[in-house]
């Protein structure tokens, strides 16, 4: 208790509070602007944190991380362009809600769900860090492969009208990520003998290209073709969700928070996978699954709760085992190291005070994020008043800058243009873009875990079903795919039958 009070004194000191607040603000802004991601924001603040005291430094980094995670939903909902890969699932229903004039309601719900997910995951982390870490250890490459394949199977649910087109999209995503150096064998793939292609396509670059560029092209085409769209977003009132609205989805939020924490705790997974699995779960458990994709609030609540729960979940392996789960936690790790905090089992013994400071900083960050976002909603929604073609200019500039900032590479800016142009073409022929992002996110991890598992088992494929989690996840994936196949076959058959019936009923009268 004394330790907690001492930690509170340090973590709640003015300097530390200001640092958390500044981090949150920066994170929200970077997350909210399409093209800029919070990974870039974190890379910017790390050098600043070097010269700060430990508590403000931790606060600044955690604030940026958490602010960015929640900020990603803002542009996902308002513009249909996710601010981070984790917010890609939020676009599906969030953007539809904006088109129906419920932007502020969706934003408010998203931030509350985010904070809920984050706090629940923090509580789980505090209570059971050791147990969860030990469970996460049992998730080896084979088990993770099963989980990722299960995640990939949610493509079936995202494919909307045509399963084939959904699969085409998913495979395209998987293929794009094979470009570059294969980290395991050091082999060059699809580099055409050049050095620039060795770096491959960055996930963030691909995401910017897929979501932002088609929007921009579309806005220009509509403006210059003189197609006057009916005023889609007439209502930009700042309407906040009531407590009752939020409580309606309480159990869904709780389930998604647990799911997000669990996935966050497994190294090599992360926010996007959790968000898509949560979205699929929300749809499956909903009484009206047909309304998903058309502006269902549960379709915003589920991914936002889950991707923020990942923040707490990812802290478990980071702090207790010293392994960063994703690029953002890797940056966090270097920030901790420079202040003499070496994550791992000894951290809890040698620096218990700092651990409490981290917990408190997370709580403060979530309070700050809710305050910033609820206050900010009335400003955010004003973006919708800007004519689409003018907004598109701003978006394209930010995207070019954001793509460059990821690794200071002009190649990435060119990639955004090329991939974005291709994405627009795919959109025009009715290929859904969301499965592509799923392929992009999961592709490298699936490949890596499959190969590692096969190397470890010395080429014996039974390793994938040898453990309970592996078998369960692969079984679930098979079930999802099988059910979807059956459904689409049945739909085709019944369509053919009604066609025949119609013809049969038509013939006699002729």
């Amino acid at each position: 208790m004394d330790l907690l009070l001492a930690a509170a004194q340090v973590a709640l000191a003015p300097a530390a509070l200001v640092a958390v607040l500044a981090g949150c603000l920066l994170g929200v802004v970077f997350g909210a602007i399409p093209g800029l991601t919070f990974t870039v924001a974190m890379a910017l603040v790390v050098p600043m944190s070097f010269s700060m005291e430990t508590a403000p430094a931790i606060g600044l980094l955690l604030g940026t991380y958490i602010g960015g995670m929640t900020g990603g939903s803002v542009s996902a909902i308002l513009l249909g362009i996710p601010g981070t890969p984790s917010a890609a699932a939020t676009v599906l229903d969030g953007y539809q809600l904006t088109r129906r004039g419920k932007a502020s309601l969706a934003l408010g719900t998203a931030v509350v769900a985010s904070a809920f997910g984050g706090i629940v995951s923090l509580i789980i982390m505090v209570v059971s860090v050791d147990m969860v870490a030990r469970l996460a250890l049992r998730f080896g490459p084979a088990e993770t492969f099963g989980l990722l394949v299960f995640g990939l199977s949610t493509i079936c649910g995202l494919a909307q009208k045509s399963l084939i087109k959904g699969l085409i999209a998913g495979v395209l995503g998987l293929m794009v990520m094979t470009i570059g150096i294969d980290e395991m064998e050091g082999a060059q793939r699809l580099t055409f003998g050049t050095v620039v292609l060795q770096q491959g396509v960055s996930l963030l670059v691909a995401m910017i290209a897929l979501f932002a560029v088609p929007h921009v092209i579309d806005a220009f085409v509509q403006h210059y073709a003189g197609e006057r769209k009916p005023q889609e977003v007439a209502d930009v009132r700042a309407e906040l969700p009531s407590i009752r609205d939020i409580l309606r989805d309480f159990w869904l939020m709780l389930r998604c928070a647990l799911l997000g924490t669990g996935i966050g705790a497994i190294p090599g997974t992360g926010g996007p996978i959790a968000a898509f699995l949560a979205y699929a779960h929300a749809r499956k458990s909903s009484k009206r699954p047909e309304r998903f994709g058309k502006g269902e609030m549960a379709g915003v609540v589920a991914p936002e709760t889950a991707n923020n729960a990942v923040t707490g979940g990812a802290m478990i392996p980071l702090l207790s085992l010293g392994i960063p789960g994703d690029p953002a936690t890797a940056i966090l790790l270097s920030g901790l190291l420079i202040h003499g905090l070496i994550p791992g089992p000894m951290l809890f013994i040698q620096n218990p005070g700092e651990i409490y400071q981290i917990y408190l900083a997370i709580i403060v960050a979530y309070v700050a994020v809710v305050a910033i976002q609820l206050l900010g909603i009335r400003f955010f929604v004003q973006v919708l008043r800007v004519p689409a073609h003018l907004l598109a200019v701003a978006v394209i500039v930010m995207c070019a800058y954001g793509a460059f900032a990821i690794r200071n590479s002009v190649f990435d800016v060119v990639s955004v243009a090329v991939l974005g142009g291709m994405a627009y073409g795919l959109m025009r022929v009715g290929i859904p873009l969301t499965p592509i992002i799923l392929g992009l996110v999961l592709g490298p991890a699936i490949e890596r875990d499959f190969r590692t598992a096969m190397i470890l088992s010395e080429g014996d494929p039974s390793v994938f079903v040898a453990s309970v989690p592996g078998a369960v996840f692969l079984g679930l994936a098979a079930l999802v795919v099988g059910a979807q196949l059956l459904r689409s076959i049945r739909a085709t058959l019944s369509a053919r039958r009604t066609e025949e019936k119609r013809r049969a009923s038509v013939t006699p009268s002729e």
Binding site: G186, V195, P317, L333, S334, T452
Partner: protein, 320 residues
């Protein structure tokens, strides 16, 4: 017409003088860009070094991350810049591994050494309950059991992979081991979970587990023990015969950079490396500060390049 020619000659002469004038001024006149090739610890050390160097120069040193392709992307960028001292690279042995692995069309001679800053020494660890106290224990056990040693390191052709293969060769285990490639940070977990028998990584990843008594660091691959782990023997002491494998990090500029600029940067780098802050960071992050001037550094790079080329050739990793 005549007037026009005279005017243009005068103008170009004036421009030439104007262009030459800044070159005579004190270097550096504008920020120096330090390209960083890798993420995680390499980036953290590089950022800190840049900040400390900035204190000893009239202009800041700006760290810019150009990661990807095992360093090839960043090396190519710096290689393509003007040799004026305003572009330097936070380099390492990766210049040799990437070149000999076929990732880069040019080798270390494309760069002028500025200064060696630090070394990092890989360590090999096993589970504490494995019963292995030394490399010889491990080798004897594996040989008598007749099974294969699963050892985790970074990807094929990476520095930790080369170090792993060198140890295995010294223990005569080359044919009874499986190299499992992991990206950074995951090997210790796999070792803890029992899916690997041993892992070779940077000591920072093992230290906390070593102190907690779950993993045991068998040895470090340098010729002498390292300051971060004074109680851990060297691999030579642990039964691997003679061994000295360390990864250096330093600064280099494109070949042809004026010696004055290099001298100025070298001096700033020396002051930064010898600062208290840098030493403290070395302890927590897990590297050894080992400064060397540009001449000694150049000799080291050339010597290491031959050794790495030989090793990679023996392992069939060179691109012909």
């Amino acid at each position: 017409m005549q007037k026009g020619i005279i005017a243009s000659v005068a103008l170009s002469a004036a421009m030439a003088v104007g262009l030459c004038a800044p070159a005579r001024a004190e270097f550096p006149e504008k920020p120096v860009e330090m390209t960083i090739l890798f993420g995680s610890t390499a980036q953290t050390i590089g950022q800190l070094l840049a900040e400390l160097m900035s204190r000893h120069l009239p202009q800041p040193v700006v760290p810019v991350a150009r990661t990807g392709a095992g360093g090839a992307v960043g090396y190519q960028h710096v290689h393509g810049t003007a040799p004026d001292g305003y572009n330097i690279v936070w380099n390492s042995n990766s210049i040799s591994t990437v070149h000999h692995g076929g990732g880069l069309p040019f080798d270390y001679t494309a760069f002028a050494p500025v200064a060696k800053i630090s070394v990092e020494v890989p360590a090999i660890a096993v589970r504490a309950d494995s019963g292995w106290e030394t490399l010889s224990d491990m080798a004897a056990d594996i040989k008598s059991a007749g099974r294969k040693l699963k050892v985790g390191a970074s990807g094929r052709g990476s520095f930790t992979h080369l170090a792993t293969e060198a140890i295995l060769a010294a223990l005569d285990l080359s044919d009874s081991a499986i190299h499992v490639p992991y990206d950074q940070g995951r090997a210790p977990v796999e070792l803890l979970a029992g899916r690997l028998d041993a892992a070779l990584q940077w000591p920072g990843q093992f230290v906390s587990h070593h102190e907690a008594g779950t993993l045991r660091i068998l040895c470090v691959t340098s010729a002498a023990r390292i300051s971060q782990l004074p109680d851990v023997p060297t691999c030579a002491e642990s039964g691997a015969g003679e061994m000295d494998i360390v990864m250096w990090r330093g600064l280099a500029a494109p070949a042809g950079t004026p010696p004055e600029a290099i001298a100025r940067l070298e001096e700033a780098a020396r002051l930064a490396a010898e600062s208290e802050e840098f030493r403290k960071a070395a302890q927590t992050i897990g590297f050894e500060v080992e400064f060397a001037g540009h001449e000694a550094f150049g000799e080291l790079i050339a010597r290491d390049d031959t050794i790495i080329a030989d090793l990679m050739g023996q392992l069939g990793l060179t691109e012909q």
